[in-house]
């Protein structure tokens, strides 16, 4: 059953269009992420679901109930929506103890004291805060405040949990750890999550499905592996993970296989279901390039960056600079003449139509 359904949601601020005809659905028990660069409209969509912003157009359903419809003039206020939400800055009330923060939603429901006590104990146990109940937020670490916000969002047993970049204020180590904890929490409670982030590795790691957004549009929806291996266009390919882009030319097609010429006169057969022909962009992931002494495409190692679990190279081949990642055992040095083979590549159009909502691609698409 769909826990959140958004139909044709648009939000305009004056002339600025923050979200444009966004439609998506979050299933029960699903961890769904909205991923995109800052200003892409992902937070606007989330805030519309929360009722903190009013859509300019469209409909929103939560747990099967219609909470927004511009056509029928429905806009259920935030306080009546069956949602829990965690904010980027946690928004833990500094004048209340952990206990009072977490119990507040139940107090508003005017539940019996005994009921509140039991539920509070459960909620604090769920996030591992039972021993800090009498502390004030100023006495807690960032991670602990985060958990208070989570417990407060969960305690009223909402239909859905909305998370707005909840990990972005934590330091790197804690952020990694919280990824596992959040996912574990979601598995235990079974609550569907709509998660907003600009961090692609976070979205890939935690989501069951994710939607990549740019300039107010949803570009692609899918499971993390699907989006990583089959990006819908160059923007997604560039935004998710690392990607090398090299200009090329399609010489021939047979079935789903295209023969492309690039990096001088090198040829490669690529699986490609599009109908591209002629000039194109060849995209290759750094881990899909194998360096060797004898590889057919000759190159020269310009930079070698050791990063522990792998080694990051920048190599120059026929005027283009490519990023290559190898296992930590690679012994190549800067300045060395090598060769490489490409195990897997993707093809994209040189110009992507703006009706797909593609903004300028960050960074340089063509290496020089």
């Amino acid at each position: 059953m769909e826990k959140i359904r958004i139909v044709n949601l648009s939000k305009r601020y004056g002339k600025v269009i923050a979200a444009h005809a966004v439609s998506l659905a979050v299933e029960d028990k699903e961890f769904f992420s909205l991923l995109g660069p800052s200003g892409c409209g992902k937070s606007t969509v989330l805030r519309c679901v929360a009722g903190l912003e009013e859509p300019s157009e469209g409909e929103i359903y939560i747990g099967g109930t219609r909470v927004n419809s511009t056509a029928d003039g429905i806009n259920v206020p935030t306080e009546l929506r069956p949602i829990g939400m965690v904010f980027q800055n946690y928004a833990v009330w500094p004048h209340m103890t952990v206990h009072d923060n977490v119990a507040y939603p139940l107090k508003l429901k005017k539940l019996a004291k005994g009921t509140i006590k039991t539920q509070l104990k459960d909620a604090l146990y769920t996030v591992g805060l039972e021993r800090l109940a009498d502390r004030f937020p100023s006495q807690l670490s960032g991670g602990e405040q985060q958990r208070v916000a989570l417990a407060r969002a969960l305690i009223k047993e909402p239909e859905v949990l909305l998370l707005d970049e909840p990990l972005s204020n934590l330091d790197a180590k804690l952020r990694e750890q919280m990824r596992f904890e959040l996912k574990d929490l979601q598995r235990r409670t079974g609550i569907p999550i709509l998660y907003v982030t600009h961090d692609q590795s976070e979205a890939l790691a935690m989501s069951d499905r994710l939607a990549v957004m740019n300039a107010g549009h949803i570009i692609q929806v899918g499971a993390p592996a699907e989006i990583y291996t089959h990006p819908a266009n160059r923007f997604v390919a560039d935004f998710i993970g690392l990607m090398n882009f090299v200009p090329g030319r399609i010489l021939a097609r047979s079935g789903e296989e295209a023969t492309v010429e690039f990096l001088g006169s090198h040829r490669l057969n690529v699986i490609d279901r599009s109908d591209l022909s002629g000039e194109c962009v060849v995209a290759v992931r750094p881990e899909d390039i194998s360096l060797s002494q004898t590889g057919p495409i000759r190159c020269r190692v310009e930079v070698r960056n050791y990063s522990g679990h792998l080694i990051d190279f920048k190599v120059r081949a026929d005027g283009a600079v490519l990023r290559v990642q190898t296992p930590k055992t690679a012994i190549y040095q800067e300045g060395e003449e090598l060769g490489f083979t490409i195990e897997r590549a993707m093809l994209f159009a040189v110009r992507e139509s703006s009706s797909e909502g593609i903004g300028p691609v960050d960074g340089k698409p063509f290496a020089t």
């Binding site: 928004a91 833990v92 009330w93 507040y104 939603p105 009223k156």
Partner: protein, 553 residues
């Protein structure tokens, strides 16, 4: 349920709108309207009167030149002191700075009284001067235009000091270092780089001092009326005593006009100043100028100045309160606590204290409540129309208090609802004049409460009143208490509005001090003023503690 929620917030806004209409807009409209009406028809008679009688147009002229002279002197004194205290290695800068601000924490008519005690014909400093010089008349006269300008300057220079000191502190030190790197010497840097950069701040501060002097009543009333030297505010007081409402409203409209024009200029300058990116909000530490050989002479001079303008007047007030009679030789036998006992036993004195405390507490409470609602609607809820409300609530900031008092008489001292002779009309005037302060402090306080804290309450299921009660108000409490005291303290010693609106039984502390001084009972006036001064200083300490030194004087 959607409509019910919106209605409730707009209902609250309408109630506040009605309040602002009754205590601000309608009374001010009455002033403007009445200045153009004679015997029920449109007429310029009142304005013609102002410009055909020398005593009236001279008042306008006097107001302009006295305020201009005050503004200029304040710019000189304030800028000089700001430079010394912010940009040099003068010893004890922090102490000097907090002492400099002291005179402004006390009401201006207290300053006038203190300086009469010091420089008047029988004054302490005058007597010391006679003793050493052998003269028997002083070469100065405190009851004169010069005396007014002097006391106004001592009272208002701090406005220039604060704006210039702020600009100097925010100035990027690298600008001066760049000049030094180009081979400029200290004097060249100061005159070619630093001074031009802080010039907008100097002008803005000078205009603030000009506006303050223009609107001041206590100082020209105590120092000028005896010498038949009138300015606009005292002429309005005089016109009301006649009473000639046409004349009073015409003079008032002109006073408001001058104040508004100056305020527009001041606003323009400050807006222009913020366009300079060089003076940023960043906490950079400009280099300190080494004073070298002139360090101790300057320190001595500054300390002496601070001693004279900050400490001596307060000391003089306490001393006067202790004398059996004004002018008695300084000897232990002539000292007494009798004046304090007298004023506390005097029925009018006791009544004034009760009235003032009641009025100040009510004014502080009501304006803070209205201020919170206005600011909440504007800063947090961002409702349509809240901007307008905010603007109307801050209008009295530009209106001299004398004019506000007349506005109350015109609006609320006539049938069917005559409040004249009651405390309510004084309260209405207090509400109008202190509302802008309340709105400003609650604005700042609510802006510090992050939006997500309220949003988290909404997500938790809290409707408007629960989230105001449980989240917004508790978080804004420290700022609101400070704001409450910031209204309570000036209201406690208010003079300008009270002197025009009081009748028998509705005296305030300010009125009693003024009348006692005016009638020659200076030691009694000083005793009551001393009690108030202690309260004000204690209040200031409390505010500074509450806000961590951000607000308060």
């Amino acid at each position: 349920m959607t409509t019910a929620k919106i209605d409730r917030r707009y209902l609250l806004m309408m109630a506040i709108g009605l309040f602002i209409l009754l205590v601000i807009l309608y009374p001010l409209w009455q002033v403007f309207f009445r200045s153009f009406v004679d015997a029920g028809v449109f007429s310029l008679k009142s304005y013609r009167k102002v410009f055909s009688y020398p005593s009236y147009y001279r008042a306008l002229f006097n107001s302009l030149w006295v305020s201009a002279a005050t503004g200029a002197l304040c710019m000189l004194l304030g800028t000089l002191l700001a430079f010394l205290v912010v940009r040099t290695d003068l010893p004890l800068k922090k102490t000097l700075r907090s002492l400099l601000v002291l005179p402004y924490a006390l009401p201006s008519f207290f300053a006038a009284i203190a300086w009469i005690q010091l420089l008047g014909p029988q004054g302490y400093l005058a007597r010391i001067f006679f003793h050493f010089s052998g003269w028997d008349t002083a070469p100065w006269n405190i009851y004169s235009a010069g005396g007014i300008v002097f006391v106004l300057t001592v009272h208002y220079f701090i406005l220039v000091f604060i704006t210039v000191a702020g600009a100097l502190e925010r100035m990027d030190a690298s600008l001066e270092e760049a000049a030094r790197g180009s081979g400029a010497n200290t004097f060249q840097i100061m005159s070619k780089i630093t001074l031009p950069l802080v010039l907008p701040a100097i002008l803005a501060g000078g205009l603030l001092a000009f506006i303050g002097a223009l609107a001041n009543f206590g100082i020209p009333a105590l120092l000028g009326m005896r010498a038949r030297f009138f300015v606009l505010t005292t002429s309005i007081y005089y016109a009301l005593a006649i009473p000639d409402f046409g004349l009073a409203t015409a003079l008032s409209s002109m006073l408001v006009l001058v104040a508004l024009v100056s305020m527009a200029f001041q606003f323009g300058i400050q807006k222009g100043e913020s366009k300079y990116t060089v003076i940023s909000g960043k906490a950079v530490h400009p280099s300190e100028l080494k004073l070298r050989a002139i360090k101790y002479p300057l320190f001595f001079g500054t300390t002496l100045l601070v001693f004279f303008i900050s400490i001596i007047p307060i000391f003089s007030m306490f001393l006067t309160a202790l004398f059996h009679y004004w002018g008695a030789p300084l000897a232990a036998a002539n000292l007494t606590l009798g004046n304090f006992v007298y004023i506390l036993k005097l029925e009018a004195g006791r009544r004034a204290i009760v009235n003032s405390i009641l009025l100040a507490a009510l004014a502080a409470t009501i304006t803070m409540f209205v201020g919170v609602v206005v600011s909440y609607m504007h800063v947090k809820a961002k409702l349509t129309g809240s901007r307008m409300l905010d603007f109307f609530a801050t209008i009295p900031y530009a209106v001299p208090h004398t004019v506000m008092a007349i506005a109350m008489i015109l609006a609320w001292a006539k049938p069917p609802l005559s409040l004249y002779g009651t405390l309510w009309i004084i309260l209405a005037a207090y509400l109008a004049i202190y509302l802008p302060f309340a709105v400003r402090t609650t604005h700042a306080t609510l802006q510090q409460v992050h939006d997500s804290l309220e949003e988290a309450a909404r997500v938790s299921g809290a409707k408007l009143f629960p989230r105001l009660r449980d989240i917004i108000l508790p978080l804004a409490r420290p700022g609101m208490i400070a704001g409450w005291i910031l209204v309570f303290m000036p209201a406690l010693r208010e003079l300008t509005v009270s002197i025009l609106l009081y009748t028998h039984r509705t005296e305030t502390i300010g009125v009693v001090v003024y009348n006692m001084q005016d009638a020659g009972y200076r030691e009694i006036a000083a005793a009551l003023a001393s009690i108030v001064m202690v309260l004000l200083i204690v209040g200031n300490v409390v505010i500074r503690k509450l806000t961590g030194g951000v607000t308060g004087f």
